[in-house]
């Protein structure tokens, strides 16, 4: 063997061993000791912790459809295989029953497990990192005393070797999730509370901020980049831009946002898909004060870079054509057959029952993923006590891929809407994606309960 080759091999193996050793060490540099003592039986603290857990929406990822709350097992699809959420009930053998407060803080804020290994960034610890230890202590009290222990073993990830090694994640953490503190952008207390909720427990960026080459959010703060919350694709949904441009939240008012987070609907739109889950599990429980703070903060975000701040005005010629029976495209024919009964000729739907398509930013988004997914797989709006009923969109997967493309392009470019066109290939890809995507609660019809009956027969 040539001398240099031998040398390279030794250096390579040596380097790998060194990297491995450092990878073992790195997580320990992230862990902290809070120095707090916590009474996990304090009812006020448990209640406070429950609310904080709601704002952090732990339940959405740490539960499966039909499974026990917080018992984990929900697959998070990555391009290389699924990673499963873990059991965070206080069960001592399979859950976090043996976690101390510091263990809990280190896992939640720093992404380091009790055994010292790094957590996958599917857990939004880069966001949770700015939460104060006092809030974590309250959450700890809730998880230890307010959550029912469930015995359920965690599932191993389906990632292939190298990606299922934990130690390289320590380097990911060092590069992409360095220690940081919350830095308020303004002197306004309300806006700062909103900023904290958005950046921290609310972890809005997990879905709404684009991810970079290392799967990291391109920015965790607005101060860091105006690509923060500028929209991203996740789970086949377009998580819309929450910034100030036309297709973002430019057309939304603060009170409209509050109404949306509280009830899952406005007169124009309804939360669906992943956001329906967020409203149902999390934001409907927030205080009005917190909802206003978050909404006010979101309205301060500047338009996303490179996006049209306002779209040119467009006259609605669609409605009159449909009323006159002028069905001048295949898309129009399909719209009249399958969509008009609910979304109406004017595309305005029925307030709080059937979402509008005209003027609905989710519809004319730059990316058609959300329109495409809901058309093909259906889904429902969140069920909250605010409205008597929650409604569903049925799936139209029986349509041909070519026709789905036609009708999606039609609704995205009719009335006053203007958006890019999709191709049949986009529909083919979505159909494939949906065939492997796990179902969640809002993919299914809402609960339907009728009062008890005495019964009785005549004749």
């Amino acid at each position: 063997m040539k001398k240099w080759l031998k040398f390279a091999l030794i250096a390579g193996v040596g380097g790998l061993i060194a990297a491995f050793a450092l990878g073992q060490l790195l997580p320990h540099l992230r862990t902290t000791s809070s120095g707090l003592s916590v009474d996990i039986n304090d009812p006020a603290l448990i209640k406070k912790g429950e609310y904080i857990a709601r704002t952090a929406d732990c339940v959405a990822c740490h539960s499966t459809l039909g499974g026990e709350e917080y018992a984990g097992g929900l697959p998070m699809l990555t391009p290389l295989g699924a990673v499963y959420s873990t059991n965070i009930t206080p069960d001592k053998e399979t859950g976090i029953g043996n976690y101390s407060l510091d263990d809990f803080i280190n896992a939640t804020k720093h992404g380091v497990r009790k055994d010292g290994s790094a957590l996958y960034p599917a857990m939004p610890y880069p966001s949770y990192q700015i939460m104060p230890d006092e809030d974590l202590a309250a959450m700890y009290a809730y998880f230890m005393s307010g959550v029912k222990p469930v015995r359920l073993e965690n599932l191993p990830s389906e990632l292939p070797p190298v990606f299922n090694w934990r130690w390289p994640l320590a380097y990911w953490q060092a590069i992409f999730a360095p220690e940081r503190e919350f830095k308020p952008d303004s002197d306004d207390e309300v806006l700062n509370r909103g900023q904290y909720l958005v950046e921290g427990p609310g972890h809005c960026g997990s879905c709404h901020t684009e991810r970079g080459i290392g799967f990291q959010e391109v920015s965790l703060t607005n101060a860091g980049s105006d690509r923060f919350l500028a929209g991203a694709i996740i789970d086949g949904w377009r998580a819309k831009s929450l910034r100030g441009e036309h297709r973002g939240l430019g057309l939304w008012g603060e009170n409209e946002l509050v109404e949306f987070f509280k009830t899952g609907r406005t007169d124009i739109t309804a939360a669906f898909g992943a956001m329906a889950e967020v409203v149902e599990h999390s934001t409907q429980y927030w205080t009005d004060q917190d909802l206003h703070a978050m909404s006010a903060y979101l309205k301060t975000l500047s338009p996303a870079p490179g996006k049209e701040v306002t779209l040119p005005a467009r006259e609605d010629t669609t409605t009159q054509k449909l009323l006159d029976g002028v069905y001048d495209s295949r898309g129009a024919l399909l719209y009249v057959e399958y969509c008009t009964v609910c979304h109406r000729a004017d595309g305005k739907g029925v307030p709080r029952i059937f979402p509008a398509l005209d003027g609905n930013t989710a519809v004319f988004s730059d990316h058609a993923d959300s329109v495409l997914q809901i058309t093909m797989s259906g889904g429902r709006m969140p069920d909250t006590p605010h409205d008597r009923m929650a409604f569903s969109m049925p799936e139209f997967s029986m349509l041909s891929d070519a026709d789905i493309a036609e009708v999606v392009n039609y609704v995205r470019n009719s009335w006053t809407n203007q958006a890019s066109e999709i191709t049949v290939d986009d529909v083919v890809k979505m159909r494939h994606f949906l065939s492997i995507k796990p179902r969640v609660g809002t993919d299914l019809p809402p609960e339907f309960i009728t009062p008890p009956s005495q019964g009785g027969r005549n004749e």
Binding site: A11, G12, G15, L16, A18, A19, P79, L80, P160, V162, F163, P168, Y171, I175, I213, L323, G325, L333, L334, V336, E337, V341, C342, R344, D346, V350, I353, F354, S377, G378, G379, R388, M389, F391, S392, M393, P394, E395, M398, S400, D401, A402, D403, V424, D425, V427, V428, R431, D443, L444, P445, P446, F448, T450, P451, S453, Q454, G456, R457, N458
Partner: protein, 300 residues
């Protein structure tokens, strides 16, 4: 040794593996299909009926007439205000343009009539059947049999029958079964109505109209509702519609996302409640059921 390039290499390799998969071909339309049955001889040449998509109307020589018929059935009140008294369209009840079994479909209408019907006590043809709806469910006036409008609606139904031979029917049911021996509890029906129906049909049964005054959800009682001569004014007929078709937008499957959430008892109770609310009279009632005893849920 830096780990980042190694990671990138592995990502690249992983994506290469994934991209090797065959790309699936675009999916074709998968329309609902039903068997055909012979009226006379059930053993003869049974074929399959496929629900056609409206885009296929373009291939018909009388496409314009069929589309007009479809529009009239969808938007009856707006397009034929002189003939429709109620705030109803044909397709308020004939759901998804008459293409859904158990949702009062038009699938067999063209072949089924003329036929001797119990309520009329004599043979009724398709024109008379449609005009029956205009006078009862829509509380309006009949259309002249040869009118452009009547012929257009029949053209749509003929197209929907997809050239099924006259002596055959598609093996579907127009309405689903409901246990008619159940005793209705209108008090419980009222509770169900306000919880599960009133969002769309209104706390006073008034329905919902859109900004132009066109009907979205029809009124279930009052002056703008169907009259007492309509099938829906009868508890058990209404229950069989309600059970299989209401509410809409509640399921993630089916063209209207409709039905199948109520038990027979639920449907009977809620139907008893709304069917017996005040509604217009039907002067022609004196001629109904001339040859047989009237059904127990008849309103007169």
């Amino acid at each position: 040794m830096n780990k980042l390039p190694l990671t990138l290499l592995a990502v690249a390799f992983g994506s290469l593996l994934l991209s090797g998969c065959d790309k699936p071909a675009p999916a074709a339309h998968q329309p609902a299909q039903y068997n055909l049955v012979q009226l006379e001889d059930p053993n003869e040449d049974i074929k399959v009926y496929t629900i056609p998509q409206d885009t296929a109307i373009l291939d018909e020589p009388n496409a314009e007439q069929i589309f007009y018929g479809k529009r009239l059935l969808n938007e009856t009140k707006r397009l034929l205000p002189d003939h429709v008294g109620a705030a109803m369209n044909c397709n308020s009840c004939h759901i998804a343009q008459g293409k859904i079994p158990l949702g009062d479909p038009y699938i067999n209408s063209y072949n089924f009539y003329p036929r001797v019907m119990p309520r009329a006590g004599k043979e009724v043809n398709l024109v008379q059947r449609i005009n029956g709806c205009f006078q009862r469910s829509m509380n309006g006036k009949p259309l002249p049999p040869e009118s452009e409008e009547m012929q257009a609606m029949i053209a749509y139904m003929k197209w929907l029958s997809q050239n099924v031979p006259k002596e055959q029917l598609v093996d579907i049911r127009n309405a689903g079964a409901v246990d008619e021996s159940l005793v209705a509890d209108p008090v419980r029906g009222e509770q169900i109505y306000y919880a599960q129906c009133a969002t769309c049909h209104g706390d006073n049964g008034e329905g919902i109209k859109d900004s132009r005054g066109d009907i979205v959800f029809p009124p279930l009682w009052g002056d703008e509702s169907f009259n007492i001569g309509a099938g829906l004014a009868r508890t058990y007929k209404a229950a069989s519609f309600v059970k299989y078709n209401m509410p809409m937008g509640i399921q993630v499957k089916g063209l209207w996302g409709h039905g199948n959430v109520l038990s027979d008892q639920d449907a009977v109770d809620v139907s008893e409640f709304f069917a017996h609310k005040p509604r217009p009279d039907f002067p022609g009632k004196v001629n109904d059921w001339p040859t047989m005893p009237k059904p127990k849920d008849a309103r007169y």
